[in-house]
Symmetry: C2
Subunit: 322 residues, 2 copies
């Protein structure tokens, strides 16, 4: 579950008094999200989302995340938009945590991914990249290629091999390869960096927006596509679905054409994305605190995706014409 901090009715009433959001009718913890505590609040105006930022989110990054949501919303890209108090504050404190209220994005995330979802995602991602292009703030991707080795260093190799024999050696080899071949210069901008299906809402198969910008950062735009290839274009059994890859990449390109360099880099970016989620999931798997009420995600899913990308020779293998 994703309610780590409890908010009392009194504290909440005081907190809400600073906004012009109507009369508070209800507040319920939401069993979604992993990093923060989320509440659905209902006022006589509308529903809203209240987020209390927990320890995994660095407080100094919050102005970037909230600023980005505000910026892309102003550009017309639908996403939860921070609500300001009468005094103009978006980021505040509640129950000892940094806290913000954002608008309620309608829609549900898709449980069974279709080609149509991937096509809608591709177009929306390109529009998101366009909306973020002139966002003035930047943030280093704290989970990019240079961060994987230190993260791997915090994982006990023996414990990794208990998850799957030989896993530590595989990761070590892949790390060395990626550090050597990671692209040095590609079109750069604001990326979401965590665009899994549960962060993309649809209403009757129409994409309504993205949520959860708490990994957003400044990095290669095509790396966002590489993450989506991993997160949207595989079956649960680990097999790649070419029609989804094709739908994702072609619809992205219908809005923003990928450069030659980006197309060439796609397989290695996809390997990097697979390794990034393999590493964070493996770390969480091994270091799972016994009391944490969060379902652990299987790291080996990403070992299988990585194995697929290692055999890919060009973007054509993802469904694009050569």
């Amino acid at each position: 579950m994703a309610v780590y901090t409890e908010v009392s009715d009194d504290e909440l009433r005081d907190f809400m008094a600073a906004y012009d959001l109507g009369h508070l009718l209800s507040c319920k913890g939401i069993a979604e999200g992993v990093e923060n505590s989320n509440f659905l609040i209902v006022t006589d105006f509308s529903p809203f989302i209240l987020t209390l930022y927990e320890k995994r989110v660095h407080e100094e990054d919050l102005p970037y995340f909230l600023g980005l949501m505000e910026h892309i919303a102003e550009k017309g890209f639908t996403c939860p938009t921070p609500v300001r108090t009468r005094e103009g504050e978006a980021l505040r404190r509640l129950a000892g945590r940094p806290a913000a209220i954002v608008t309620f994005l309608t829609g549900m995330w898709p449980r069974r991914i279709s080609q149509e979802h991937c096509a809608a995602l591709g177009r929306a991602l390109a529009k998101f990249h366009a909306a973020g292009a002139d966002f003035a703030m930047t943030r280093r991707n704290s989970l990019s290629v240079e961060d994987w080795r230190p993260l791997f260093g915090r994982i006990d190799e023996e414990e990794a091999d208990e998850v799957q024999p030989g896993l530590a050696a595989e990761i070590r080899t892949e790390l060395a390869f990626l550090e050597e071949h990671w692209p040095k210069d590609l079109p750069r901008g604001t990326i979401h960096a965590d665009l899994f299906p549960d962060n993309v809402f649809f209403e009757d198969n129409t994409l309504t927006g993205f949520i959860d910008f708490y990994f957003a950062c400044t990095d290669w735009l095509a790396y966002d596509l590489a993450i989506c290839l991993n997160a949207w274009c595989f079956e649960p059994d680990g097999s790649f679905v070419p029609v989804r890859g094709q739908a994702l990449l072609q619809s992205y390109q219908s809005v923003r054409k990928l450069t030659e360099a980006e197309l060439k880099a796609l397989p290695i970016l996809a390997r990097g994305a697979a390794l990034r989620f393999l590493l964070t999931r493996l770390y969480d798997w091994i270091n799972h605190p016994p009391g944490a009420m969060v379902r652990k995600k299987d790291p080996l899913e990403y070992r299988r995706r990585l194995a697929f990308h290692q055999k890919v020779r060009s973007a054509a293998d993802y469904g694009l014409p050569k």
Copy 2:
């Protein structure tokens, strides 16, 4: 967390199509409740609650629970009210579980209990008892005095003593006492039987209604009061708060006067209520499935309440004039 069953967007869309509830905009699992999976759904009409009944609720009891909610709502007592499909069905199936949609009750449960909360609770409880008086269905209380010994029999006494040395013997003695002295004839009717603060909503200190009728049954009306004495009138440190007891009992009596027999029985009913929650919490504490994402409740809280009630000599000790 209280989402045991996942509902896909496709399944939900099909399910919702049978109702006249407007267009489905959102569905989020709620991190509340322990027995069932609860979702807050938002349509362009209103928010609603969707409940999927999990294994601890017996399917054959559901018509009673839903019928009770409908009945008391018709009598003007605010509570979540089952919504029927165009074909008139309230109880249906979704994702392999029995399922129902109920109206959204505004308000939040109070985290810090005041005397005013207890006064509002007493009045509302008496009104609830009045509203349920002519409810045609009945349901045996499956957690009353004759059920405690079989439940205790399913608890390993050595494990009970690991929770607190001597606990098993204490329970055995109390069980024998209660079986001998439990009242044989008191005013009887429909009771809620689980009226903890998280099942009573307030909006700006005005009680808006009760929720979670899934322990409701036919039993002594005063037993509901005894449960409330336990659940509302103690500090977290285990000390009884007489002004809260007084507020609860006097305001209840402002609507329905307790009989002499009920007043006399109150201490033993309160001991019974304390033992009932001690036993179910102890059972859950010992038999906690390792994967279950539910916070365990401390059984010893109810051992301390029980010890208080054992010293009570009359209803006056709860704050009522002798």
